[in-house]
Amino acid sequence: MSSALTFDPIRLPETCQILRREARAFLAEEIAKGTFDPNNPRRAEESAHAKEFAKRVAAKGWIGMTWPKKYGGRERSFLERYVLTEEFRVANAPTRIYFTADRQSGPTIIRYGTETIKQDILPRIVKGEISFCIGMSEPGSGSDLFAAKTKATKVDGGYLINGTKIWTSNAHQSDYMIGLFRTSAPTKENRRHGLTNFVVDMKTKGITCNQIRQMSGQREFNEVVFQDAFIGDDYVLGEIDGAWKQATTELAYERSGPERFLETYYVLTELVRALGPKPDTRAAEGVGRLVAQLHTMRRMSVSVAGMLEAGKEPVVESSIVKDIGTLWEQDLPSKVRTLSAFIEQDPGNQPPLAKRLAYATKVAPKLTIQGGTTEVLRGIIARGLGLR
């Protein structure tokens, strides 16, 4: 009968709340030291101290914390990781440098890498020593993942890569890439056949990164050009030509975390601050609705983390969380702008809310595009409902 969407009201256990207090203390220390400015999200993410920060986070055991101990992980729960992620995000901590490796590249390697690769790479991620980027989109293909053309030609001992990846966030400062390359032509029966995931050492001869500026002023995007770049056989992840089988699990991990609805959160805090303790009815209603929506998304997201912890693969639920979450965080600057329209401004320097709003507004367009567009997510949800 039912399309059966479950969002059990998972509660974070006491171990999580203890960890939360530890995280807050750590972040307070880092802020006091000047590692990053929590009130300046743009500057914070580009902190010059990010690499050293990553090492200190790693020293706490907080990178790869859910991974097997034999690779340096701590085998802690998804719920504990959830708590750290949301606290770090709300503080605007410079996690960009290790976040991709921690969230998705590491888990992919654990699942599909050879033992040699796992032993070589995972401990270094855990120590905060190396960072990863994701090479999927190309000039001719983004959402249509399996139309990728960058070629991996078989040679003795490995593959030669030729082609171009684009929009590759942080490639210019990454040590490795998880790259999706074409090892065979698609077949008539399966248009998704023929793509293979690889671990790419970004220092390999023949790889060039060209940075692409974004309209927000961020400098994450890159064009990555491959010219006869050699990757050894050992660096294949999973089945050759079978990357399409790997997509689902990874996406559940990637799609539903708190970072998917907290990217512009700081404008809500600043709005409440600017409104003061007695807002007018219009502003109060606006704040109340936004907090109700935020709380609900968070409860959904924690529920999905609970499902992942229980070993499930909540593909539809996590896609829903990302769909709702990214639309909310995208629209938040606009709603906050409306609600702040009648706040008496101090004359003089541009006040914090206006500055934060300007940045969030410029970042907003990418939020429903990165990591899987709304249109693709809704297709996944539709399939999950039995509509395709």
Binding site: S3, L268, V272, G288, T296, M300, A382
Partner: protein, 355 residues
């Protein structure tokens, strides 16, 4: 929640499937199905789950009762089950025994007040009391010089201005003119009208979530069966995306209502900020989901879903009407917003993260 916790809900769903099938009810020529249904609900202890056995109820847990309410929403139940449950709960707060039969509860509007007069009678006007004319008794919250009281009154002692809600169900205003209660007792310390409104709001949130779940199921089924332009309409991307949005609203309502119910099942103080956040957020978010979700369900169904003969309106109009009971979402958003602002910006995240 363990496996055995769903026994009560499963029993309820079976009875509802047998005796409250929405299509059957929609096509019924008269109201005779109501008596049969009510008897079955009463016999199975489903009308007073939140009342102790020695006070006339079946002594089930808050969590079990909340599941029954979701089931009631799933079936767009058109009898005062939620209202009787809520009335029984209110009476139990003051250890007043619950009578047999249908009940409703008042006030249901945050700003309405029923006064306890010095002579022990009750006076006042309570708007929008659901199923008032089908109830034999009312459980009331009254304010007197010594504080808040809870009272049981006979429906026949109260005057009514009759009206209906969006779904055509009774939604009458009660006028009490020095009505003598059957029973009256002080409310427990700290129990006030806000507590009643929040509990009623969570009840309605669960009903809305249940109704939305059925809307989603029926709309998916319809889209997979209906042909247009030589294919099932479920093949069109525009339709798929609308259904994905509907699924999102159902998910949000289910999560918000479930989280609030889970919070209240632990019997916390209603005035606690965390409880307040959970209960108000559920009402606000479920009301928003009811609006968006109902519109999508109707859009996908096209003209046939707009007919009286089709059952869709039973779900959509109830969900939309339930938004207004026990304080609408604008009211609660203002209250929540004020509370957030009073706590200050630096306390916002800690409050949200505490859940």
């Amino acid at each position: 929640m363990g496996e055995s916790d769903h026994i009560v809900a499963e029993a309820a769903e079976k009875i509802l499937a047998d005796l409250a099938d929405p299509q059957t009810v929609n096509s019924a020529k008269d109201d005779s199905w109501k008596a049969k249904l009510w008897s079955a609900l009463e016999e199975n202890g489903l009308t007073l789950p939140w009342v102790a056995e020695n006070r006339g109820g079946s002594g089930a847990s808050l969590a079990e009762g909340f599941e029954v309410l979701t089931a009631a929403g799933k079936f767009a139940l058109a009898v005062p089950l939620a209202e009787t449950m809520l009335a029984g709960w209110l009476l139990s707060q003051a250890d007043i025994a619950s009578p047999v039969g249908a009940m409703s509860v008042a006030p249901t509007h945050p700003k309405d007040k029923i006064a306890l007069n010095l002579d022990g009678t009750l006076s006042g006007r309570a708007r929008n009391v659901p199923f008032a004319r089908e109830a034999q008794h009312f459980a009331l919250l009254a304010q007197g010089p010594k504080g808040t009281s809870i009272a049981l009154v006979k429906a026949s002692n109260c005057r009514r201005d009759e009206d209906v809600n969006l779904a055509g169900e009774p939604l009458d205003s009660l006028i009490l003119d020095k009505v003598s209660p059957d029973k009256i007792a002080p409310a427990p310390k700290g129990f006030d009208q806000t507590a009643l409104m929040l509990m009623g709001g969570v009840v309605r949130s669960l009903q809305i979530a249940g109704a939305l779940q059925t809307m989603l199921d029926r709309t998916v089924t319809y889209a997979n069966e209906r042909t247009a332009f030589e294919r099932k309409i479920s093949r069109f991307q525009a339709v798929q995306h609308n259904l994905a949005r509907l699924a999102g609203e159902v998910a949000a309502a289910t999560a918000a209502a479930g989280s609030a119910a889970d919070t209240l099942s632990g019997a916390p103080a209603f005035d606690d900020d965390a409880t307040y956040l959970e209960a108000t957020a559920a009402k606000i978010r479920c009301a928003e989901a009811a609006g968006t979700g109902s519109a999508i369900a109707h859009q996908v169904h096209g003209a046939i879903g707009f007919t009286e003969e089709h059952v869709l309106h039973r779900f959509t109009l109830r969900a939309l009407g339930w938004r207004d009971d026990f304080g609408n979402e604008s009211y609660w958003a203002v209250e929540l917003g004020n509370r957030i602002s009073a706590r200050g910006a630096d306390d916002l995240w800690p409050l949200v993260a505490s859940r």
